[in-house]
Chain length 423, copies 2
């Protein structure tokens, strides 16, 4: 395994070398390496926990927030869960070699578009040590070499985990450099990683705005960004109000810290007086702080008087918390326009009984995932049947939405002939 002591450029060059061989590996060998990785995680649980304890101690000493400490923490259950995820990835179909389309030309040439690995994928992440294994497993299965750059707060945990992953890969006869880790913390190192043109094929950042901004400034290598999730539920005039209440509460409350949770509720004026008192009552009972426009406060009945005013800033904010902004709209178009203006293109839902509203919303909202009569909380690679995900893209190029095994590949055209030349 490439280790911290090596310069980033060397680690990446070694990864590129390994990537050439990884691209040619059969599925059975990759799966054997994944099974070995899962076994080693279980067998070396004690060692992982020891390393993690060192990171936890250092984190507590440095005064890390309890949320961060929780994300950093591993226990036997979590390690067993990671091993299980690796076995699930082994069980997924191999995307490499899939013929996307193919046909015979008039001149007899057979043209096929065939899925191949990207090459070298770098993943830059914070805290959670499980990312080390999840991303290694996804890259291995999709035939890519991976260069990991974790956070310094998880350095001991990550080092052991990356060593386990690299060891399993080596055991299966896969070359050194297929899985490497460079230490976190050093911004200069990040800049080096982000400028390995022609060596690193893609960077996937899994972290906050600071990390994304650093990459936006320096990266010359392609980056798949995921923006924050400012998501909405729009309750249309013809909505089933029971469904609308259930979907709104679920989308806000079930797990408010994730990016497919909603931040704003848009309610059609025609049903606002009936819907708002019920919905806002239930939301408040679930501990949600509400911020509302003037019409909501007028139409929400008793509860209306006690609502804080939503500001322009609220419409554009991802709260990551039990806070919801609420707005009454006069038309579906007004709602779609609001979403396209303030939304971040992640996950958007309409609750409606009208087929024409459903179609207009699905077509008009510019987002990775648009829902009709369902909670936004389903946006997830595993839920969508794509297997595990390495991230979620809100970009339009290459991959939009969950980034699974297929999204970690590109394609090449393979053309077979019998001596054809161009006239």
């Amino acid at each position: 395994m490439a280790t911290t002591a090596q310069p980033v450029a060397d680690v990446c060059a070694q990864a590129k070398q390994a990537a050439r061989e990884l691209a040619l590996l059969d599925t059975a060998t990759k799966n054997a390496a994944l099974e070995a990785m899962a076994d080693a995680l279980e067998q070396r649980t004690h060692e992982i926990l020891e390393a993690n304890a060192r990171d936890m101690d250092a984190g507590q000493e440095a005064g890390l927030q309890s949320g961060l400490l929780d994300r950093l923490m591993l226990d036997e259950g979590r390690i067993a869960g990671i091993a299980k995820d690796v076995r699930s990835i082994a069980a997924l179909p191999d995307p490499v070699g899939e013929t996307i389309e193919g046909h015979r030309l008039e001149n007899g040439l057979d043209v096929r578009r065939v899925r191949v690995p990207l090459g070298v994928v770098a993943v830059v992440y914070e805290a959670r040590p499980n990312v080390t294994i999840d991303c290694s497993a996804l890259c291995l299965k999709s035939g890519n070499a991976i260069v990991l750059r974790g956070s310094s707060t998880a350095s001991h945990s990550n080092a052991v985990l990356a060593q386990i992953a690299a060891g399993a890969v080596q055991w299966a006869g896969i070359p050194d450099g297929a899985i490497s880790i460079v230490s976190g913390g050093d911004r200069d190192e990040l800049r080096q990683l982000a400028t390995q043109d022609g060596v690193v094929d893609l960077i996937i950042p899994r972290g906050g705005e600071g990390l994304k901004n650093a990459l936006k400034e320096h990266a010359t290598v392609p980056v798949l960004y995921a923006s924050a999730g400012v998501c909405h539920v729009l309750v249309d005039a013809s909505a089933d109000l029971d469904d609308a209440v259930a979907i709104t509460v679920n989308a806000k409350v079930q797990r408010p810290s994730v990016c497919n949770a909603i931040e704003t509720l848009l309610v059609h004026g025609d049903i606002a007086a009936e819907f708002l008192p019920r919905a806002l009552g239930e939301l408040r009972e679930s501990g949600v702080e509400l911020r509302a426009d003037v019409r909501t406060r007028t139409l929400a009945g008793e509860i209306g008087d006690s609502l804080a005013e939503a500001t322009e800033e609220d419409w554009a904010t991802e709260y990551h918390a039990l806070i919801l902004s609420v707005k009454v709209i006069d038309t579906l178009e007004e709602g779609v326009e609001h979403i396209n203006r303030y939304g971040t293109g992640h996950s958007e839902a309409i609750v409606t009984g009208s087929t024409s509203s459903a179609r207009a919303f699905s077509a008009g909202v510019d987002a990775a995932a648009v829902y009709v009569n369902a909670s936004t909380r389903f946006t997830d690679g595993a839920v969508f049947g794509m297997g595990a995900e390495i991230g979620n893209s809100t970009q339009k190029l290459h991959a939009r939405g969950p980034i699974g095994l297929r999204e970690l590949t590109t394609y090449k055209f393979v053309i077979e002939g019998s001596g054809q030349v161009r006239e």
Copy 2:
């Protein structure tokens, strides 16, 4: 039509507005606009020729090279050809709305991945005025708004052509801003265009290295780059030598100025003594200047003594001319390694009778198009059955190889339910 007088940011904002409506247009309306565009090109041929004559006069006065003048020049035949191309694009299937995949989840949710336009595509190009119409037609058909930035040398031709395109679009009831042109020549304008984050969704440069470098330095908007084409033919030990000679000559000679023409010939040592005298003789008869490594000069018989020596620089050069470098290799692996080192990932061919060599080459060469027993000259959207192309990508992300209608789209997930919430 948006015109030069407007600031770039305003032109792009108007394009974005138009893109929202374009995305919802039915195919019949788009096709009607394309037919109107083709009709207008024919009806206004005289006007186009007058504008083009002004550009040609200015170009001659400014001392433009004859090659550039030829690319700038329009005549009745060329305009008829452009109109024909527009009608061909109208006849292609509409990529928008295509369901890429779809299935029902256990909880009853229907998840579909549906093709949608990118939004606003900017095309930055040089000289050739036909690009104005070709790209406008491709973007319109794929539901995208286009912002054109042509070269100042073609400004009169481009202005008339863009006006014709925008007029046809307007006639069909498609909003202003669907097709816009900003004047060429001003580098500050290019920088403005390249930093319209969240407004322009993609920039496609069709020009030389200077343009690409300017975009690499300034662009914060995604760019689809096409690198130069350093392409190869590899003649394997088991090749049919007649096919090998025909393919080599075709790939070099048929049109040496394009990027899918070859620059280097790699010949397996086992057949070099038999193949080289024939192949190099025919190439020389076709006017090709040859540069060779030491073994080629030894094995090429009589012709060998007269060959110039190939330098390290030759292996990495796209000549765009009737020059070919030649190298003898000992193994297929050596050839694949040479290609992966010096090639630009465009189009690569092997001539072989061996199925295992064919598989090893197809899998091992990292390029957009890999050919077995055919000339590299076929890499082209129209030839591949993708309809017309707006460019050719040597990147791995989003689109690799010809960029046709489908490659001008992204997708969204559309999820339909009956009140599902996440547990």
